[in-house]
Each structure stands twice: as C-alpha cells, then as structure tokens.
Assembly symmetry: C2
Homo-oligomer: 221 residues x 2
DNA sequence: AAAGGATTTTGACTTAAATCAAGGTCTTCT
DNA sequence: AGAAGACCTTGATTTAAGTCAAAATCCTTT
C-alpha cells in the first residue's frame, strides 16, 4: 500500500483502516461534505472532480490503485470523487490518522512528498488550462500518458512509435482538459491528419513520433 | 515567521537560514533549475509563474510575507519566481531542511497542512480556468480578495459595499486568470455597467454588493 | 444476426474571447 | 509644468472553440 513504510508501520496502519467496496458509478466523496476521512485506493479507478451549480464540471484528475485521496484538510471536502468501476479502498478517520502520523513520522514525510508532487502536477495542468490550445492540450495528455508507462521511467521519451490505451471516455477527457467532447474529437482528428497519431479504434492510439508530439504539446516551435 | 513552531524551533530554524534581499524585478527561481533551496518570504511580494517557450505564461499565484516557496521537490524547480518589489527572504538548503525536519516534526506537519491547502486552492483555480467565463473569473478573483481581508475571517461575505485595493497590474491579472489584458478590462467594464462594482481609479474597486457578485462568480444562477 | 443505445465523429453555424489598433489616463522624470 | 513612457480602456475585426444537429461506429442484449 505505501511503499515508504516499514512492515511495522504497515501493520499498524492496516489495523487503523477500514476496508470498503464502492459500486461503479457511486459518488463516495461529495464536495462540501465534512471531511472526516482519508482514503487509500487498493483497487480500481476514481474520477476526482469539482462542479459548478449549473452543471459545468472539471475533472481534477484520475486516481488509481495505491493512490491517496482526501488529503485536502479544511473541514470540508474540496472535491467530489466517483468510482469509475468497482473500487476497493481503505478508509481512515481523521482522528485515527493523526494518531498514526504521530507514531510513524515516515508516513507524514511521504505524504508531504506526495502533496508536493501533486502540486507540481496541478501547476502544470493550470498552465495547460490557462494557455494551451485544444491540440496542445490533447497532445500534452497523450505525452503524459506515455510518460507514466514503465518504459520511460527516467523521463525519456521513446523515439519509436508507441501504442497507448485510452481507457477514458471522450467526455471525461473533455472535462479533464477544459474542452468539449467535439473539440477533443476534432483535435484527435487533426493530429491524425498530420500523421502524428493513428487509431486502431477510439480507445487505442499509436503515437507515430512522440518527440514531434512533444514539440506540439509544449509549443517548442 | 512560522507560527506553528515553538521558540526553540524558531531559533534552530533561523540558524539554519540564510537571509537574502532580492531586487525588484529579479527572477530568483528559474523553472528547470536544480531545486536546491527552500524559501520563506519575510517581506515583499513574489510572482510565481510557468511559461511556454513561445512566451505565453501563466501566473500560478502571488506570494507575500510569511509564505513558503519551493516546496515542489523533484530535483527540478517546477516554476519560476520573480520579485514584484524588493523582497527579503530566508533561504534554506535542502539538506539543512531535511535535518531540521527530523529535529522538529511540527514544521513538517505544518508544511503538510500548507501543501494541502495550496492543493485545494489549485483545484479551485483549475475549475476557474477550465470552465468559467471571463466575467466569472474576474468576479471570482474579486471575491477571493475580499475573503482574505481580516473582516471576513469565518468565510462570511459582507452584505454591505466594500472597497478593495487591486495592487496587481491588469497584465498580471490576465496571466493569473488565463485571459488577455483587454478581456480583463472589458470584464471589469461589464461588471461596472451592471452596477456590481465601481472604480475610484484603476487600482481601487468598490464591490457594491458582494453577495450578488458571488452569485455571478460561482454561477449560482 | 438484428435492434437499440451509447459513444464518437463530422458538419454547419454561432459566439466568446483574442488580436489588432487607437485613444485615454496616470506616473515619473527632467 | 511639460514630455515621455507605462498602463489601462475602448473599438473593430478575426478566430478558436462552443453549440446544435446529424451521421457513423461500437457495444450490448435479445
């Protein structure tokens, strides 16, 4: 679950946790609710989002197995979270958690690192949302997906073609990138016309030249 | 400097720190540089931003006296920082900092809370950038400024008119809100036409009805 | 295999914000 | 005080992305 911890810590933690299963499609954290819990996802994918009263929404991110949820501490949940499939998680009450933190400072250290990393990612996403064009946003997304593949551990982009799964619907992608479904689709189409990507079906892209795609994604004209 | 610390901690910290003065306009953290330091601002305002190679940029935030900078830990700085005026700060080398963390866990706890709070703010800003219209963005900014005034500590909006200083140029505001200077100006003009705000000069707004402004800012139609 | 529904793509048109271009206003400096 | 420059506002036009609508593809279920 939390690789920076010793076995002792893990044992203590798992005793403090409460295991739960969430049905696909259920919103199990609701923005504005009192923030009483902290979660670790042990299986499945979760959509984290914020919405405006009129229905417009932004997906902050997608979280999967091993990731932590509910860090935002301020009495109120700052976002909603929805299970994209059946999800298993460990739940900690906030009071328990503070106890565990005191007993095992390594966990706190780890969470600080995670938070710092999430902040970096958030800043990158803000630049994307504030200043990138639709094609640049979609290209950036594709590159980020490549980067999290095992193959390119050290931040090295492959210079051969590479095929990716797109497990996420166009609607989710649009809400994640601050676009509409149609614009996402058209951006893919444009990248394809320009020979940068190819589709075997709507959920499997081949990046024909990841390095060229990076030039587009980051406006390294 | 860091109100969650005991006097002992403070003494230890200040010994580990290196005091510096940065001239107005100087970029003292450069995105991509090795991240060797951690900063605490003791005086003055700083602009934190990320830029694309072609010059487009996004201001992630403005940081002032008492705030921490450089949390993002990953070898590389994830953003640039520029002094908006003469700035005084305390600088800690990363190795020193790790030592201090081990000695004074309270500081680490505090930083985790700060990071969690910054994440919340970042998510809110992403929703703004991804989904809000220009007028909504400008309204949101004005409201956020009101909220950080002493008067509304408990998250309560005043229901009387209230005057704000806008210490930031339209250009900075545009880069912060993901708009252009002209659109910021026009959004202000529209809010003024609709009787929601008034200007005594370009850097002093009066919010005629903060509650109505909030309806606009958060699309509570 | 056909029907039905959801998802994705494509097309025509609209619109909000960007861009280009003047004018104003404010500040600073001689 | 007057000139020069920075900053802000307003106007005209363009454009990228949004909206509305229909077709195409995929997936599930009977």
């Amino acid at each position: 679950m939390c690789d920076a911890l010793s076995d002792d810590d893990l044992t203590a933690l798992s005793q403090a946790a409460q295991r739960m299963t969430i049905a696909a499609g259920r919103v199990f954290i609701e923005e504005g609710d009192p923030a009483n819990y902290f979660y670790n996802i042990t299986q499945g994918m979760v959509r984290v989002f914020k919405a405006l009263p009129d229905g417009r929404r932004h997906i902050t991110g997608f979280m999967g197995t091993g990731q932590f949820l509910g860090l935002a501490i301020s009495g109120q949940c700052a976002f909603s979270a929805e299970a994209m499939e059946e999800v298993h998680l460990c739940r900690f009450s906030r009071s328990t958690l503070n106890q565990v933190f005191s007993d095992f400072p390594a966990l706190e250290r780890r969470l600080l690192n995670i938070a710092a990393h999430e902040l970096t990612v958030a800043h990158e996403q803000m630049l994307l949302l504030a200043r990138k064009s639709a094609v640049e946003r979609v290209s950036s997304y594709l590159l980020n997906q490549v980067m999290r593949l095992d193959a390119c551990a050290a931040g090295k982009l492959p210079n051969t073609m590479i095929t990716l799964k797109l497990p996420i619907s166009r609607a989710d992608l649009a809400d994640y990138l601050g676009l509409t479904i149609e614009t996402v689709s058209r951006s893919f189409a444009q990248l394809k016309r320009n020979g940068l990507i190819d589709f075997s079906n709507a959920h499997a892209v081949t990046l024909m030249n990841p390095q060229k795609l990076e030039v587009i994604a980051n406006a390294k004209g």
